[in-house]
Every structure is written in structure tokens, then in C-alpha cells.
């Protein structure tokens, strides 16, 4: 077994201060220190290399990974299932239905009831502005209280699998992809990354991807550009985060309404549809009033608004304007591919085809990123534990 890369990554991990992650949740990347994020990348890489070298990373003999998906999801569900399974946890879905937003007593009680043998809780709740992340914090408070009161023998930690504000498992997988692609986090310094809105015939996609991307990529000293038509602003809070990060990290953060301008000289482009924040807020309000007819009306308006920006498509012509005409194209998938999954969409089929392998590779990091988040929240001395697992060298497959 070639463990050269692993040894180096473990050395790196040893030098990082990630004690604060033990027994704590992963809800927003900007709540984590640089060291903590670096620890996630390091552990994710080690876990991947262990799996490649057929070394078991099973740290749990038993225990549940509870998933609460308040929106459909195949990819994130499988990533969470894969990560849990790699570490030895059994997945158990809590199917609450997505039509109702639970509050207070119900959240507290349900969170406790599903946690008696839970080690981790993964939550996806991205439908309504102001709700998803708040819900996660309610769940977190509940299990913390249950643990403090001695009702829960273990304190399950939470992983945000997408909320209204951030999508940390996505943006961290994206960042890991960039680190691997460019050969190290330090190589990202000075690179221009464009998070751009793109046209999609479908209605109101979550804002958490662009928000998560600008909130995270601005930490690596990159020139981060957020491009979108007027009216497609993201949450102010996340723009503030990006600005502060850029100021601290020696990079920059800019917003533009010109896709062409944005793409010029870009090293990385991430064109993707999302709903305008104002509309999402209005939708949440209508929802709160139970005004489903209003929501349907709003959706129509949004689709009409979208349709005025069909030229926001990632075409070959546009790609030619990027650095040497070959910026790295990114997407969280599935993409709306023009002429393939829809008539007119986010990206030209020819562009997508060129980057398919890269896109699939980007996605392939997510299970490891989630496993690393769980690992760091459940293991007090992660480097020691990984070295022990390597020493034991139990084969994952006989």
C-alpha cells in the first residue's frame, strides 16, 4: 500500500487546530476556522485514500445516522448514506413530509425521539427563506438539551445537507475539487472564480449553492465574482460574509450584472440558475399565510422573469472568453443542458460534454467531505484515530 499521500495528509492534519469541531455541528462554512476547513479537506482525502487502499474507516460498530430531508434529493441522500456507511453507521430516514414546517415543541420532541441511538443527523431543508437553518438550530438545541439532561447518552451532531443560507457539503466538495484540480489550496490564490446565474426553464432553485460558493471560495484568496441579472440578488448576509472573507484573505469579491464581463479571464466558472431572493422571501410569506394560489401565481411570475434572461447560458462562445478559453466549468448537478434535458438551459450541450468527467469528479468528493465532517465531530483526536485505523489495516473488502 502506498501511503505516502496519507502520511503527508495526516502530518498536515496534526498541525491543524480542529478541537472545536469535536461534538459540534457543521451548519455554515463561515462558522468554521480556516484550520477546521483544512481539517475537513485533509480527513476527506485520507478517507478516500484509505478506501482506495482497501483500508476500513469503520469507527462505529453500531449507531444510526438519521437523515431528515424536507425536500427531494437523490444525490445528497446517497452521499450521506455513503459517508455514514463508510464509518459504520446505519441510515435511518425521518420522513416528515415536506409540506409542513414543524415548530417548537414538535421539533424538540421529534429530534429527541429519533436520537436515542443516533450519532449524526443530516438535515436538508432549503425550501423557505429564514426557515431551514433555523430549523437545524432548533434540532441542535434539542439534542444538546437532551444530552445535557442525561436523556441522550451521546450527543448526535448535525450536518447541514442544504439549507436556505448555505450548502456546506456542496461548497466544500466543490472546494476540494478545486484543490485537487489545481494541486493544492495555496494554488487557488489569485484565481478568478465566477459564480454566475444562468437561465433555466424550471422554477425557483435554492439560493444556497451560490451563497455557499461565494461564502467559501472568498476564503482562499481568490477573485470571486458573483454575476446575475438585476433582481437575482442573493441574501445580503452571505454577500457580507464574502466581502469580509475577501478582505481578510487577500482576495476580492465583486458583483456584476454582466455574464460576459464576468467570464473574461476566469479560471473557474460556475453558471447555475437560482431564484431571486426577494421572490423567495415573498414565497415564504405566502406560505406562512397558507396562500397556495399566491404561490402558484408567484411561480408564474418568476418563470416569466426568468424567460427574459435566456441569454444567460454558458455557451462555447462564452467559454472562449475565459483564461486561455479553458476555465474549469463547475456545477452541482443536475444541470439544465440545452438541447438535452431542456430546450434552452444553463449550459450548452457541447460545453457540458467537455466537462462531464470533471463534473462527476466534483460530485465524487461529497461523500468523503460528509464523512470527514462526521468524523471530526465524533472523534476527539482525529489524526491519532486515522493512524490507528491505518495501523490496524482492516481490509474494507476481503
Amino acid at each position: 500500500m502506498d501511503t505516502g499521500g496519507i502520511d503527508e495528509a495526516i502530518k498536515k492534519l496534526t498541525s491543524l487546530n480542529c478541537e472545536g469541531m469535536y461534538s459540534s455541528d457543521f451548519l455554515l462554512t463561515w462558522e468554521k476556522t480556516d484550520d477546521e476547513l483544512a481539517a475537513v479537506f485533509a480527513v476527506a482525502e485520507i478517507l478516500r485514500d484509505m478506501r482506495r487502499n482497501n483500508v476500513s474507516a469503520k469507527i462505529f460498530d453500531s449507531g444510526l445516522a438519521v437523515s431528515i430531508f424536507r425536500d427531494n434529493s437523490t444525490r445528497t441522500r446517497f452521499s450521506f448514506a455513503s459517508a455514514s456507511n463508510l464509518l459504520g453507521l446505519a441510515l435511518q430516514d425521518l420522513d416528515e413530509g415536506k409540506s409542513q414546517i414543524a415548530h417548537g415543541e414538535t421539533v424538540r420532541e421529534t429530534a429527541t425521539m429519533v436520537s436515542f441511538m443516533a450519532e449524526v443527523i443530516g438535515v436538508r431543508d432549503d425550501m423557505y427563506i429564514g426557515k431551514g437553518n433555523a430549523y437545524m438550530r432548533e434540532v441542535s438545541r434539542a439534542v444538546q438539551e437532551g444530552y445535557a439532561a442525561g436523556i441522550l447518552e451521546r450527543r448526535p451532531t448535525l450536518v447541514n445537507l442544504q439549507c436556505d443560507i448555505d450548502h456546506p457539503t456542496q461548497s466544500m466538495a466543490d472546494a476540494m475539487h478545486l484543490i485537487q484540480h489545481f494541486g493544492g489550496a495555496e494554488r487557488l490564490r489569485g484565481k478568478k472564480i465566477v459564480m454566475s446565474w444562468a437561465y433555466s426553464p424550471s422554477y425557483g432553485k435554492p439560493l444556497s449553492v451560490p451563497q455557499g460558493v461565494i461564502g467559501l471560495m472568498s476564503r482562499f484568496g481568490m477573485e470571486v465574482v458573483l454575476a446575475h441579472p438585476p433582481g437575482y440578488e442573493v441574501m445580503r448576509q452571505t454577500r457580507e460574509v464574502a466581502k469580509e472573507n475577501a478582505a481578510k484573505g487577500g482576495g476580492s469579491f465583486e458583483v456584476t450584472h454582466d455574464m460576459h464581463e464576468a467570464f473574461k479571464g476566469a479560471d473557474i466558472v460556475y453558471p447555475k440558475s437560482w431564484a431571486p431572493y426577494a421572490a423567495m422571501e415573498k414565497r415564504t410569506e405566502l406560505y406562512g399565510q397558507g396562500d397556495m394560489a399566491g404561490i402558484t401565481e408567484l411561480e408564474k411570475e418568476l418563470l416569466a422573469q426568468n424567460a427574459r434572461h435566456k441569454d444567460w447560458e454558458c455557451t462555447e462562445t462564452l467559454m472562449r472568453e475565459t483564461r486561455e478559453g479553458r476555465a474549469l466549468y463547475m456545477h452541482c448537478l443536475p444541470a439544465d443542458i440545452s438541447g438535452v434535458s431542456c430546450k434552452e438551459g444553463e449550459v450548452a450541450g457541447s460545453v457540458f460534454d467537455l466537462y462531464r468527467d470533471a463534473l462527476y469528479r466534483e460530485a465524487s468528493y461529497k461523500p468523503y467531505v460528509i464523512a470527514a465532517m462526521i468524523f471530526l465531530s465524533k472523534v476527539k483526536h482525529p489524526a491519532d484515530m486515522l493512524m490507528r485505523l491505518l495501523e490496524i489495516g482492516r481490509p474494507r473488502v476481503r
Copy 2:
């Protein structure tokens, strides 16, 4: 590791005759001897202490735990999943749909088909009087026959996760809560426990909880009082059981129609809504005739009947009448909390708040009780096995 409590519990277990539980089902508490119930409590406690001490209780390397839920359930589902996982079994749901009551050939065949690698089958079937427990026995017969014929290499054992008659995993968890709370089963002797009907705005909850509670608690020498408005009788069979138990065990069993009277001097109160038995019988009959309109009509009547008893609420005033004004309040959860989950319900918000931790603790025993039931039905020499597991001391979490 402090195993003082464990050692004592194992010593206790060794003194109990629980051989009859091996390879047999857990369908009704009153089919079990006192020793057998004590064994469940002992094993549940040991398994909990092992988990607290990070010792693996995995006795299965592979094998399925099949769950058949003919009614929705989050809590019991998670308890069963947790228990199975703790012992090393993978949960596999049989989703039969709750709209049809399978019979004869279909039950026999399906039971066999899902059992080729099953170690345990958990069934919840509580919707229709005369059906749920009968269904479980059909399943049990089928797997027994399959085993006898050499078709099934192992005989999966059944755990009743709630039927029309009893809810043994609930009542056993409740009893374990009392034993832990009062400091031993022998301390329950002479205590007054009130299983009381309470108003709920929701329709026809199962009778299995009150029936299970009077059928079990009457065995510990307690003064068991069943309180409900006229018309909310429970099954005669379970009242007979409670009477006999009380006679044998030196306690008492009484029925009253006065909630205030019942609460006087009570050590423990368990106020909870349920449907009147006669109505549930009528419902089963209508169901058998496929008369869905009739069922809807019946539901309306029941709600109107319920509404005449809104004063059956567990208030602070009422609690003051209990022993020293601080009886232990119990509930199987979720409760209908006045002003919280509904306008008027089973319990005042202030009472519920006071007992929240206790209620969550009550619920926390269920996974261990289920695990103990499985353990005792699958392990021939339970005390020896537990000692071996402790000796091996395999960590549950590395």
C-alpha cells in the same frame, strides 16, 4: 469502566428463569411470567450500561430485522431500528399499505418470503379491533411452520410493536421508567397509578396503551386505577387480566368515572386519550363491510362524543390533588398539549413543561426494552452471552 451495576444486573438475570423466551415471540405481557418480564428489564439495563460504557452488544454479524408497520409511526419505528442496529441487524421495511387487512394464504406466504434471512419481525397493527394481534399470530404460525418444514433455516421471532390489545414495548418501557424512577421494582408495591382517559381533539386513538398499562402495572402490587368517562371502556379481556394480576400480586384494580377522584393521592398519573371500545368495534365492522362513508360518519360522532369531555384535562389544579402534589406524570407521546399542539387537549402546557425531561427519559427506555426482547428470544443463555460480550469488550465506537 464501572461495571458494578452491570454485574449486579447479570447476577439478577442469572437467578431468573427465562428459558421460555428463547425462540418465542413477545406478543402480550400477560403471556410472560414475572421472571421473564424481570429478565427483559435486566437485559435492557445491561444493554444500556454497556452502550454507556462503550461496549458493543452486537451479537449478529448479519441478518435482517423486518418491520411491518400497518400504521404510521416515527417513534416506534426508530426504537425498533435502534434496537436492531444495536444488536447488529439491518432493518428492512415491509410496506404493505395500511388500507388492506391481509388474510390466510397471503399472510402465510408473505411472512415466509420476507423471512429467509430474518432474525426478528416487528409488527405494528393497531387499527382494527380483533385484527392486529390475530395478524401477528398468523405471521408467527407461518414462520414456525416454515421453520419446522426446514424452509427457514432460522425461526424469526416476533415483537408486538402495538396491536389492538396490547402495546408491550410501550408498557414495558413505561414500567422500566417507573423502576428506575422509584429505585427498583419492589418499590412500586403500594404505589397508586392512574391510567386516565383525557380529552383530545383528534379522532379515535388506539386502546392498546391503556390496556397495556393496566395489564402490566397490575403485576407490581400497585393500586391501579383506570379512569374514564362512561362509554370509554377498554376491552373486557384486559380488565380481567388486570383484576387477576392484582389479586395474584397483592395490589388492586379499580375503574372509576371520576378523574378528580382518581388523581387523589396518586403517585403516578397517565392521562391519555383513547377511543371507546364499542366505537372501535363498530368501526371494524364498518370496515369489514367496506362502508367508508359509515366510518366517516362514526368519526364525526366520536369527535362529538369526545367534545363532551373537554374537562378531562390534566391541569395543574388536578396535579395538586396527587400525592404531595407531585405525582409522576407519564405519557407515551406525542401528547396533545393545550395551547401548544392544540387549543384544548390532554394536558396543560405548564404540566407538560414540568415533566418534559421525565417524559423523554420514559421514551428513552423503549429501544433498550425492544433490544432486550430480541436478545432474549435469540440467545439461549443470555447471562453467559452478556458476560462474554463484556469480557470481549469490543468498543462500540472506536
Copy 3:
């Protein structure tokens, strides 16, 4: 532990050339060599004996078994779950909904996204002629490409859990049943097996069972007779396969429209309803056009057509015409039993009763057959591995 039978089976396995199965899919039995099929039977038998002797067959420490069911299934689902669990894999369902047939990009992407930690993918897709097997090959191509590109670290192998053409896990379990029943594959030579159409009040059952049975049983030197009313032809391709197999293997393959004639002197009868191929083709066409009204109309026609052949029932009278009046009756279950599950059906209740144990035994082989298919596709030196597992002798249940 008596491992006499296991030793012999491993010796047999050692003599077989089954290298080609490593890292490859199991999609159609006629794509496999005789040695490869014999290897499946041998490994299935060994795995069963290991389980009987309480020896763990867990070769995976972690890893997912992904199931894609595009049609409802209890039995096959449980068989796949059991097989996966026996080997150490966790089941993860991909719930795509059965209403749409995914194509091209979507299939490729989804297949990759669910495979990052998958070891095996089981697919059931039997609804539309020309679609199911083609879909499986699309999935297979996708994961092969992902593996070749280094995106997937492992190449998940596919198991066909029923398609439009073949139902290899069923027919292989059926064949294993015959081998066990008659005492060896060589004893099947010369036996007459009748795959017969039978009347069912239900609409259009898949053709894959009769097709799979004639495509496989024709390899063992048996006299294979396919009996059905005119209009109930199966796919020409599978009849060709049966003819060729019979020619090669020294048996015969004949088609008749007379159930009585077919049953005469039969050693084995397999009476079962299926839809006429022409109708299934038309249905697929209508489906392609989105003509749901047309499909409903077609279903009515098919039911009317079926109703003209109510005399195609496996009765006691008919059974008397078989060899010594006691041919082995087979069915993939569930059967439409006259007077039990329907008024008039495929088989008389009295015949079914006589063979119940045998039918359940037939079904009991499926989990082992699937486990063997997975085992052979994931383990390079299967005989060595099995010997090692036996040597280690880890108990499956403590």
C-alpha cells in the same frame, strides 16, 4: 460443523472456469457459460451451508448495494436485501418512480451519482418491451465509463432483478430448486419440464419468467415444452435461445397450444399467466406516445382475451396426467389460486396446497443465488475466499 458438503462444493467450484464473472454484470443467463452458471449454484450452496453452520460470509466491511426498482416488488426486494446483507453491504434504494423511462444523460449521471460507494446495483425494470434490459446496459456502460475515467474507485456490478427479456435470479433459483430436488444437475437430463401459460384474472404479467425459464432450463438436457394459447407467444429471441441451447445440450424445445398434451408425462410443470408479447409491444408503443387512454383500452382487450382461456388452469385432473401423477409443480409466486386469491386462477387450491412447502423452498434459494452472483462478480478467487472464510469461521450469530 459438518462441512462435508461444503468441501465437495468448493472442490467443484475450483474446477470451474468462472474468471469471466469477476467485475462483470449478470444480465441474461444465456450470456453466461455453463461453468459460470455452475459456479453460481456452487457458491449459492456453499453460502447456504455456511449460514446453516453459523459461519459469516461477510466479505464487505462497508459498501452499498443500490437497488433500482421500477416496479413494485416485495419478494425480490427482500431477496436482494438479504443477499446484500449476508455479504456485508447496506441496501440503499434509488426511488426513481416508475412512471418515467429515463434516458441517456439522466441515466448516465444518476448511475454515476449513486455509485461512488456502491459495490453492486440491482435493477428491476420489466414494464416495457425493449426498455428494461436496455436500461440496465445503459447503467452498466455509465459505471464502466466512470470507473475507466477514475471517477469511481470501484466498478459496481449489476444484477438483473427482472427485465423485459429475462428474470435470471428467478430462473436460477428455480434451477437450483430442481437440482436440489432431483439430486444434481446431471439428474435433470431427459426430464420433461412444461412452462405453461395459465389463466389469471389480472392484467398483463411480465414475460420474463417464461422467457427466463425456457432460456435456462433448455441447457440441462431437459425436454422443455412451452405451452400457451395462440396469441401468447413470448419474444422470438428467447425461443431462439431455447432452441439453440437444446440443440447444444442434447435436450429439446417445443411449443404447443395444448395444455393437456403438454402435461402428459411431465416431470415438472410451471403454469403461470403472462401477457401476449404483441400486446406488450403495443403497450410500449402507446406508452411512448403517452397514450394512457389507449393503454387502458388495451388492458380491457387483454382481460377479455385472457377470459377466453379460463380452462388453462392447473387442476388435480391435469396433474394426474403428469409422470406418475406427481410432477413437481413450480411457481415464482404469488400465484393466482382459484377460490383463494381469486375466483378462477392459475392453479386449483388443492394443487397449490400440496406443493406449498416445495414452492416456499423454491423461493428460498433466491437470496443465495443473488448473493452468489454478487460474490462471483466481486471476488477474484471465489474458491480461495470461501475457504478462507471457513477457516476464519467467524460466527454469524454469536
